[in-house]
């Protein structure tokens, strides 16, 4: 009796490891039942994006590598999970949009150096040959390639991802002109506050609103964009740390007097009640929802955002226009600029990496290369052929409007495919969606400001990579610099006092080694410039 009962239990215990390792008895863990190689692929995607098994185009990848792909899809908390994965050194065979440049600086040895494998990846090789900048973006300081970028080569790009919006309907109603200087902006905002432009009889208008500052530096959608009014040129991603390049010299605006000038102006606005009193304490969703107003009654007069539709919603979008950068003072000698983010939008680094310990290397390389095929690329970015993209001819595509009319175009785009998380090389003739064209139109008023910024001497080059030691020094210094800067920014804008405290503030920043950071950046910039 006893033995009869124990046998199945023992069998079950023996079978457990097999179940856990996910393979049948007697089989290699690296091949499936048909002897095809297995690839474990981790992909990070937006929470709206539908499961990859519901898309058609990933089948082309499996066909190309002649393997079975086990997708593991992550759409939340990746940053925390990532640290654990890297620390345990068990990275997936292929990771998509999962590991960035900073991870590669520390954990590069965990990944396959793809610069040696370009011959087995014809599409990638062609991309690097046609567009050398894509290669420069992918390469580390010593010429290794641990991750492949997305290259949106032939997709028309706006030069920046943020624009300045004002409620044109309110301006017209009050008989005002679009502001061109800070003083004019002040007058316009004051009129918005006091003259009830939305006509509901209540003083509920918010003249100016901006994105939450966060506790680690001024970012997109904050008044930092107004620094360009003083001629201070910002670029791409480094500007949140205060870093900018002006006429070939790297500087930090957190210790720049033009930044002080901006704070004084903002304090003037705050004292007059022209900035939303919740600006510093609201979270992003509150910030977004307040600009959508009530029905067709707008509440926000002046703000920053990525597109008018995204910022104000379908109902209010007709009320707003994008405007050109302002001048700090009328007739100033400094040329106004708007911050450039063109390269950072065209080349997205860290989109695909392969584990150094991958069992089926050949399959992994074929799989990776398949992403860069023109047909796959366009679908990975925009969605399946037929529903989301139409192929007009050889390397000629048209992005289709949402087939589900209940969804707005931005939600639709994120649902249908990997969008910005996709490794891809967009080449040929691409006709973007209507929504995307609007983005280009909104960019038009800024043309002059863009032209004032020299792409070499006033821009931080995207392709510069730093070594671990330098990255560490920078991030260590930044923790103090940004903390000091952000808390003082809030204090000075709301309570004033920047004039009296500026010198001691700059002293604190110096103590926090702000100079060391600019020197490191300068060193890399000079090395880059010498190669141009």
């Amino acid at each position: 009796m006893g033995t009869r009962h124990t046998t199945p239990i023992i069998a079950a215990i023996c079978a457990l490891p097999l179940v856990l390792s996910g393979c049948g008895a007697g089989q290699d863990a690296n091949t499936d039942a048909n002897g095809k190689p297995i690839l474990n692929v981790t992909v990070t995607k937006h929470s709206l994006t539908k499961p990859l098994k519901d898309m058609n185009w990933p089948k082309a990848l499996e066909k190309a590598c002649d393997c079975t792909v086990k997708w593991s899809e992550v759409s939340s908390d990746w940053d925390t999970k990532k640290q654990a994965i890297l620390a345990s050194k068990k990275v997936p065979d292929v990771a998509i949009s999962a590991f960035g440049d900073n991870d590669m600086a520390t954990y590069g040895s965990l990944f396959l150096d793809l610069s040696q494998e370009l011959d087995s990846m014809p599409n990638v090789k062609a991309m690097f040959q046609t567009d050398p900048k894509a290669k420069a973006v992918a390469e580390t300081t010593d010429g290794k390639i641990y991750s492949l970028p997305a290259d949106l080569q032939d997709l028309p790009q706006p030069k920046s991802n943020r624009r300045m919006y004002v409620n044109k309907q309110w301006l017209d109603k009050l008989g005002l002109k679009v502001p061109t200087t800070w003083d004019e902006l002040y007058d316009v905002l004051e009129a918005f506050k006091t003259q009830d432009p939305n006509g509901n009889g209540k003083a509920d208008e918010i003249p100016m609103d901006f994105a939450p500052i966060g506790t680690s530096g001024l970012g997109d959608g904050t008044p930092v964009h107004l620094l360009g009014s003083t001629g201070l040129p910002l670029t791409g991603t480094v500007y949140t740390q205060g870093i900018f390049v002006e006429d070939g010299k790297v500087k930090n605006y957190y210790e720049d007097t033009r930044y002080k000038q901006l704070i004084e102006f903002l304090n003037r606005l705050w004292k007059a009640g022209l900035i939303s009193d919740k600006a510093f304490t609201q979270d992003y969703s509150q910030f977004q929802s307040v600009a959508r107003g009530n029905g067709d009654e707008a509440t926000v007069g002046f703000t920053w955002g990525s597109t008018i539709e995204d910022r104000f919603g379908a109902q209010l979008k007709s009320q707003y226009v994008s405007i050109d950068q302002l001048e700090a003072e009328a007739g100033q000698s400094a040329k106004k600029v708007w911050y450039l983010k063109e390269d950072a939008q065209r080349y997205l680094p860290g989109k695909l990496s392969i584990s150094a310990k991958v069992a089926n290397k050949e399959a992994a390389l074929k799989f990776a290369d398949a992403f860069y095929d023109p047909d796959v690329s366009i679908q990975a970015r925009f969605g399946d052929m037929g529903t989301d993209v139409e192929k007009i001819g050889d390397k000629q595509y048209k992005v289709l409007p949402p087939s589900d009319s209940s969804k707005d175009s931005s939600t639709w785009a994120w649902t249908e495919s990997l969008k910005e998380n996709a490794p891809c090389w967009l080449q040929g003739k691409i006709e973007p969606s209507e929504e995307y064209k609007l983005r280009l139109e909104e960019d038009a008023p800024l043309a002059d400001s863009y032209a004032n910024q020299d792409p070499i001497k006033d821009q931080w080059p995207l392709e510069i990579k730093m070594n671990t030691a330098d990255l560490n020094s920078i991030s260590l210094n930044n923790s103090t610099i940004l903390n000091t800067a952000v808390s003082n920014f809030g204090k000075w804008v709301t309570k004033g006092g920047v004039d009296a405290e500026w010198d001691s503030y700059v002293q604190t920043l110096k103590q926090a080694n702000i100079e060391q950071n600019t020197e490191i950046y300068q060193k890399y910039y000079d090395a880059w410039l010498a190669k141009q």
Binding site: L86, G214, T215, T281, L476, V486, K491
Partner: protein, 326 residues
Amino acid sequence: MTLTTSSITPNEPNTGPAPTAASSPKPTWLQSAKRYWQLWAMLLPAVIFVAIFSYGPMYGIQLAFRRFDITKGLTGGDWVGFAYFRQFFSNPQFWPIMRNTVVISLWTLVMGFIAPILLALLINQIHSRRVKGFVQTVTYMPHFISVVVIVSMINLFLTPSTGILTRALAVFGLHDVNLLGSTGAFPMLYWMSEVWQHVGWNSIIYLAALSSVDLALYEAAKIDGAGRLQLIRYVDLPTILPTAGILLILNMGHVLGVGFEKVYLMQNPLNLPASEVISTYTYKMGILQNQFSYSTAIGLFNMAINFVMLVVANQISKKVSDTSVF
């Protein structure tokens, strides 16, 4: 918590029967282990738990003295001695962070210590069982609300110009109050919400101690002419004093341990000068900036101070009131 009460009550001179073992000569450790092996067996899981999860990971502390290198693992980095500690002490943010941590935690410690005692004494005065039960339930319910929800509530109530509390203040003539963005109000917001949330729950332990008071004591005191306040002063307070002492000593062990989640969630650019504390700084350095060694050093420093405070508090309490944890 309950473990502490049961271990204190036998020491309490006035209540409970005197332990019988005290009359026989003091047994050796081995004898006692043999005689009370059941008790030791019950203790075992806890000992194993502490050994694995508290003592085990301590080997990682050496990270504070080494330069962390991913390729060499936790224990393989170069030995740098106290470099990371020096780095922390010479950081311009060191003093502000320390000050914030101490201010917030002292307020919370003191207020969080007094409030439950007062509440317990008050509840103890209620005679109706139903009212007592109702009050107790109402006061300890907030304890079960998640920190995230509490912080969202604080943010909603105190939103400038539209929050409930901001509007209430406006009724009293205080216009344009922005408590969320005020550095001065931050410690107060923190400890008040903390006390509000946990006062009911923490008073349970005192209520338990109060329920053990011999009713004859009250009667005797009343016959001697004691009023209500005097009953509290001479009967209730001495009863809960040992419990309070032990809890205070244990709390001293967290004197620099301001809870991370709540402070982090309550942070915004305006209150940052008052709300950056050791734990949030460690998080920003260690997890967000990948400075593992540096943040381990800060964490270790924090621990060392907490440990010293605990021992000092214990020694003082031992001298003054004869109650101590060890």
